[in-house]
Symmetry: D2
Subunit: 378 residues, 4 copies
C-alpha cells in the first residue's frame, strides 16, 4: 500500500474530495497525513471525518514535509490541492524532503518556478505528477492511440473548447471562495480562465496529438465589470508540421456546465469527444458513415491502456478519469519503491514537463493578449 | 468504520469489484472478510490482491457466517455477489448469525424464499438491502421527488425498457461464464432476461413512481436456438389508479450496450431518463419547451437526497450510483449500531420488500407467458 | 403535366396544404379542380388563393367526380383529404368516374369498404395510393433495402412507437376542429389514436420489413375523461417467421411533438430511425461501433430509390417525404397515361392493399382491446 | 403570380433546382424564362424538363435581360445561380433593364462591384435579394427575436462555425465541377472557403444579432497541396459594443456534412442552433435548466414572422428555409407591383447591403491573412 498526504483540499474544496476518492479508488493507496487548512481546528475536524490519526495532522506544510520526510513510515507522496500561487513552495518543500508529488494544475504561476521544480525532482529522482484529470478518460487514450496508429492520417486542424457558465455572474463577490481566489491575481497568477480551463485544453490536445505549438495569437477577455483577470479566452494556433488550431475557453458561457470538447481533423479521418458524454468517441472517415465508439466495447488497442473498469453502457465519469491519473502515478511509484527501473511505458501520467509546458502556454497567451493579440512564438 | 465481508465476487465477476469500490467509495466501510470463490486457492489470491488477512478468508459461506457472527470484531454486514440460486441460503445463514445483508437481485429464485428471508430479518431486527443499483442515480431520486411533489400531475402511462446486445450471439456456449450461469435454470431460476433486466425495470419504475402493478401480460421469448430461458421480454401492465405501461427488456437488442430508459407521462408533464447519459433528466410540461435538468445544477429539492458529489458537467456514473445504494445502507447501519431508532427517512435503500416484489414480478411474468401471454393479477 | 383535383383540405386543414405542396414539388402535377369545403363561399375563397378557375370548383364531390370524369381535360387523379368516414364514398365516386385516387389514411373505416374500393380500382384499372407519408423518407427506403439485402440478418424483434402530446389536454372541447372530428366515432371510425398514429406505425414497419402480422394483443386506452375513443394504444405482436414486436402510439405523451420511431433488431445487426431527425439512420452490427448513416452521403444502394434531392447535411423533412409518395404515384400515372405496362418496380407507392391491411390492423386492435386485450389472429 | 427567370442553375448545379423549388414553394411565382447554360442545347433540354416555352430560352444573359426587360409580360425578377465572378455583370444587366434581382452569395467578387450594384438598384428603385438561405430557417428568426426582445441580455461572445468535409480530398481534380470553379480564383474570387462558408457565417450572425464587426484577425489556410485558395478559415472578431467572437469555416473537416452552427452568449442567457437539426433551438438562462425550443410549438413571438408551415415534430429543412427567403422577397415584390410603399417590415430579406457587407468581410479576411493574420479594421 502506497501512503500519501494532502496539503489543501479542506472545507469548501470539492476537488480535495475528488483527489482522495481517486487515490483510494483502486485500493492501492492510503491517506495517512494532512495539512488541509491553515486553521488547526478545521484541520482536526477534517482529520476526524477522514479517520486520520491526529499526530499526522500538521499546522503548516513545511512542518509536514520535514516530519513526514523524516519518518520511516512517512508518506510516499503528497497531493497538493491549494490555490495556484502556493503550488511552487509546497511542491519544493516536499521534493526537498524526498517526497514524490502530485500537484494540481497549473503547476506553478511562472515557468521559472516550474523549471526549478523539474530540476529538483530530476536531481532527487522523484516522481512529479500534474493532475490534468481529463486526460485520464479511457476514450482520450483511445483517441491518442488511434492517432499514433495513423488511423486518421496527418492532422490538419484542431478545434478544442472548454466553455463554462460558472462565472457568468460576479459570484466571486457573492461568497464563492473558489471563484474568489481564481479572480485574485495574487493567488491565481497572471490568468484566470486561460490558466484554468485553457490550460486543460492545451494539455488534452497535446496528450492526444503529440503536436507542439509553434506560435499563437490569444485574446484574454474580461467581460465582467470589476474583474482584473480574463473570464474568456480565444487562441489561434500553429503547430509543428503545419497543423493549425482554435482554442476557446470561457467562464461566461451561459448554458455550459463543463463543456470540454476536442475535435481533431486529419487527412483521412477525424475524432470528436465531449466530456459531458465521455463514454463515447465519434470517429469519422472519408466516405464512410460516422462511427460511435463506445467505451468498453469498441476498444481496438490494449485494454490495459484504456483503464476502463466496467462493461460498455455502464457510464464511467470524472472520478474514474481522475483515478486513472492516480493509478498511472501510483503504479510507477510501486515499481520505483520495488527498486525497478522505470521506462517510458511507466511514465504515462502527466509529468512536470507537461506542467512546465502548460505554464509556458499560459505565459505566451498572456503576452500575446497584452500586446494587442499579436502572434508570439512559443 | 463499518466492517463488511463478501461472498462471491471473485475471479470473472466484474460486479464484485463494483460492490467493493461502491462500499468503500465514501470511506465509511472496510472489507475485512470473504469467501470469494469455492476454490480456496482463488480465495487466497483474491485476499492477497485485496490486502485481506488470510484468517478472515473462508472455505464456505456457512463457516464464514458462523465465525464472523461469533467474533466481537466480526463483520457488520455481508455482500452477496453470487448466482441467483444461492442468494437464499447464503442470506439466510448470515441473518441467522446476526449479520446484516446486502444482496444482489433478484434476491431469491422464489417468492416463498424471499418471504422467509423477510421474516428472519424482521424477527432478528437486521437490515436487508437488495442492490438495485440503478435507483442510486441522483436524477432518479430527483425524478421521484418531482412526482412526489406533483410536478407532472397524475401518471397516465409508463414506457420503460432495458435493451442489451449482450446475448445476441450464443456467448454462453463460447466461454462467457456470466452468460453461462444466467442461461442455466438451475442457477438463474425460472427466467433469464426478465429476471435480470426486467427486474431492474420493475424496481426502477416502482421506486420513481410508487405505483403498484395490478395485472400484467408478458411474453418471455427465446430467440437463440438452444436456449431454455428467455432472452427477450415484453410486458403490458396495469397499475393501481388507472395508469398503464409497457416494459421491454432484451438481451438480443444489437446496438445497445446497457440501454435502460424510463419515460413517465403524467397529466401535466413528463419525465425521461436514459442510463447511458445519466447526468441529465428531460422534464416536459404541457405548452412549455422541454427542459434538460443537469445533475448538480438544476436540483430543486434537498441536495442531500440526491447524493450528488461533484459539480454539474463533471459526469458521475455507475460506480457512484452503486455507492449511493451502499451509502444509504451504511448510514442506516451506523445509526443502528449507535443505538438510534431508524425511521422511514433512514430506510431509503431498496429493502427486502422491494426484493420480494421483484421476485413476484418475475413469477407473474413467467406464469403469464407460459399460459400463452394471458393477463394475470399480481 | 399530370392534372389533379382535391376534395377536402380547405380552411383549417394544414395537411391539405402539405398535399398540394407535395404534389407540385417536382413540377410534374398541377392542381386544377377542387371541392375543398362544404361551404361554396369557402370553396371559392380557397380557389382564389390557389389561382384556380371558378368553373373547376364544385359544390359536392359527386358533382366534381361526374363532371371531371366527363371532361377531356378532366383531372387525372383526385387527392382526398377529408375526415376518415367520408373516404369511402368519395373514393368510390371518383373511381367510378374513371379517376385515379390518392387518399389519406386510414383509407376507410371498415375493411369491407376497403375491399370494395380495391375491387373497383382493379376492375377499372385505376391506381390507388394511400398517403402513408412517413414511408416516403429516403432513409426509410434505405432501411428497407438494408433488410432486403440481408445486412442485419433475420429479424427478431421490432419496437416501434409514435408518441404525441397533441391531445394530452381536452383540446377537442376547446375549439380544435381536427381534434374534434378525430374524437368523434361518427367521423373517425372505431379508433382515434390507434387508427391514426398506430396505423402509421403498422404501415411503416410493414414497408421496411415486409413482415406480416400473425396475431396481436392490444390495449386501446382512454385517459381523458369524456372521450369515447382511445387516446393511447399498446400492442404486442407476433409476425410470420417468429419475429415479435411492440407498438406504442399515444396522443397523451407530454413532451413529444411527433415522435415516430422505428427500431428493428436482427440476428446480425439493427436499425434505428426517428422521424424528428429524419436525415440520419443508426445502423448497428454485432461487435462493431454504431454507424450513423447520413442521407445523401452514406447511401449504399440506388440513388434513385432514395428520392433524396439535396446533398448530405442540408436537411430534408416532411414535405419532401410527402412529395416522394406523390412522385412515385405520379410517375406511375405518367407511364400509364403513356400506355406503358406498369410492373412491380413502378408500384412502390403505398397502395390499396396497404390501405386494406391498415384497416384490418385497426379492426383487430379494437377487437382485441374490447375483449379484455386478448390475443387475436389477423 | 410573380414571373421570374433564371441565369445559370443548369446541369450539375443542385442549387439551381433548390432555387426553382423554393421560388415555387408557396405558389406565388412562376419560372417562365431562362439562360441556364452557355450551351444552347443544354439550355433547351432544361427548358423541356421544366415545361418552359422555347422562345423564352436565351443564348446569353444579355439577350435575356434586354428582351425580357422589353416585354410587357417579361419576368419580374431574375435568379442568378452562376459562379461568383459572373454575378456582377449579370445582375447589372438585369437591373439596367429594370428587372429585380435575386442573386447567390457572395454577391460580387469585390466590394466596389457590390457598391455599384447597390447604386444602380437604388437609382432604379429595384429590389435586390442575396440568397443567404440559412437565415430563412424559422428558428433563426426566433433567435433574432429573442435577442431583440432582450431575452438573453447584452451579447458577450459569439462562436459560429461551418465545417464541411466536402473538399477533404482533391475532388476538384477528380471531376467535381462545383469544386473545380470554387477552387479557381478566376471564378471564385480571392477566397474559396471564407468566401463561401465564412460568408454564410458572417451573414447569419449579423442577421441574428445585428452586431457590426469592428476588427478581425483571420487565417485563411490551404491544407490540400496544389490549391491556390483557402480550404479552411479561422477568424477572431471584435464587434461594436464590446462583444467578441470566433468563426471557423472549413472544407476539410472530415465527418461534417454541412455543420453550420451558431452559439450566442449574453449576460443573462444563451442561444445555440445547429443546421443539421434545424427544428430545435437551445435556449439557456442563468440558473435555469436548458430549454429546447421546438419549431411550431415554442414560438413566443409572431407566427407570421417565423414562416413555419407545419406543426411541431414534422421536420422542415433546407428547402423551406430557402423558400422563406424567396417568400419575403416575392411578397415585397407583390406589394411593390401593387404600387404600395415598402417599409422596413417588408424588407426583411437579405438585401444588397447584406451582400456588400459580406464581400467586405471576405476582403478584410483576405487582407488580414495575407499580412500574417494581423488585426484589420472593418
Amino acid at each position: 500500500m502506497i501512503k500519501f498526504g494532502m496539503v489543501g483540499g479542506g472545507g469548501g474544496s470539492w476537488i480535495g474530495a475528488v483527489h482522495r476518492k481517486a487515490a483510494r479508488f483502486d485500493n492501492k493507496a492510503d491517506l495517512i497525513a494532512g495539512c488541509f487548512s491553515r486553521s488547526i481546528d478545521k484541520n482536526l475536524n477534517i482529520a476526524t471525518d477522514l479517520n486520520l490519526s491526529p499526530d499526522r495532522i500538521y499546522k503548516t506544510f513545511t512542518e509536514m514535509a520535514v516530519q513526514e520526510g523524516g519518518r520511516d513510515d512517512g508518506v510516499d507522496f503528497v497531493s497538493i490541492v491549494t490555490p495556484n500561487d502556493s503550488h511552487f513552495s509546497i511542491a519544493k518543500a516536499f521534493l526537498e524532503n524526498g517526497i514524490h508529488v502530485m500537484c494540481d494544475k497549473p503547476v506553478t504561476t511562472t515557468s521559472a518556478q516550474a523549471k526549478e521544480l523539474k530540476k529538483i525532482a530530476e536531481k532527487r529522482g522523484l516522481l512529479f505528477c500534474v493532475s490534468y484529470a481529463y486526460s485520464g478518460y479511457p476514450l482520450i487514450t483511445q483517441a491518442k492511440e488511434l492517432i499514433t496508429n495513423d488511423e486518421i492520417g496527418k492532422i490538419r486542424f484542431i478545434n478544442a473548447e472548454f466553455p463554462e457558465a460558472w462565472m457568468a455572474s460576479p459570484i466571486e463577490r457573492e461568497g464563492d471562495k473558489q471563484a474568489h481566489w481564481r479572480n485574485d491575481p495574487a493567488q491565481s497568477g497572471s490568468s484566470n480562465c486561460c490558466g484554468d480551463l485553457g490550460s486543460h485544453v492545451e494539455h488534452l490536445v497535446s496528450y492526444i496529438t503529440g503536436l507542439r505549438i509553434v506560435s499563437l495569437c490569444a485574446s484574454l477577455d474580461v467581460f465582467m465589470d470589476g474583474r482584473i483577470l480574463d473570464d474568456n479566452t480565444s487562441v489561434m494556433l500553429k503547430y509543428e508540421g503545419g497543423a493549425k488550431g482554435l482554442y476557446w475557453a470561457s467562464y461566461i458561457a451561459v448554458g455550459h456546465d463543463n463543456g470540454l470538447q476536442v475535435r481533431i481533423y486529419g487527412t483521412r479521418g477525424a475524432l470528436s469527444w465531449i466530456q459531458k458524454n465521455p463514454n463515447y468517441l465519434n470517429v469519422s472517415y472519408l466516405d464512410k458513415p460516422i462511427q460511435l465508439f463506445s467505451r468498453g466495447k469498441d476498444e481496438i488497442y490494449s485494454q490495459k491502456l484504456y483503464q476502463s473498469r466496467i462493461p460498455a453502457g455502464h457510464p464511467e465519469g470524472f472520478h474514474e478519469a481522475f483515478a486513472n491519473i492516480y493509478l498511472r502515478f501510483i503504479e510507477a511509484l510501486e515499481k520505483k519503491k520495488a527498486g525497478l527501473l522505470l521506462t517510458g511505458e511507466d511514465l504515462t501520467f502527466p509529468g512536470i514537463d507537461d506542467g512546465l509546458r502548460g505554464v509556458q502556454f499560459i505565459e505566451k497567451c498572456v503576452q500575446s493578449s497584452r500586446n494587442g493579440s499579436i502572434w508570439v512564438e512559443m
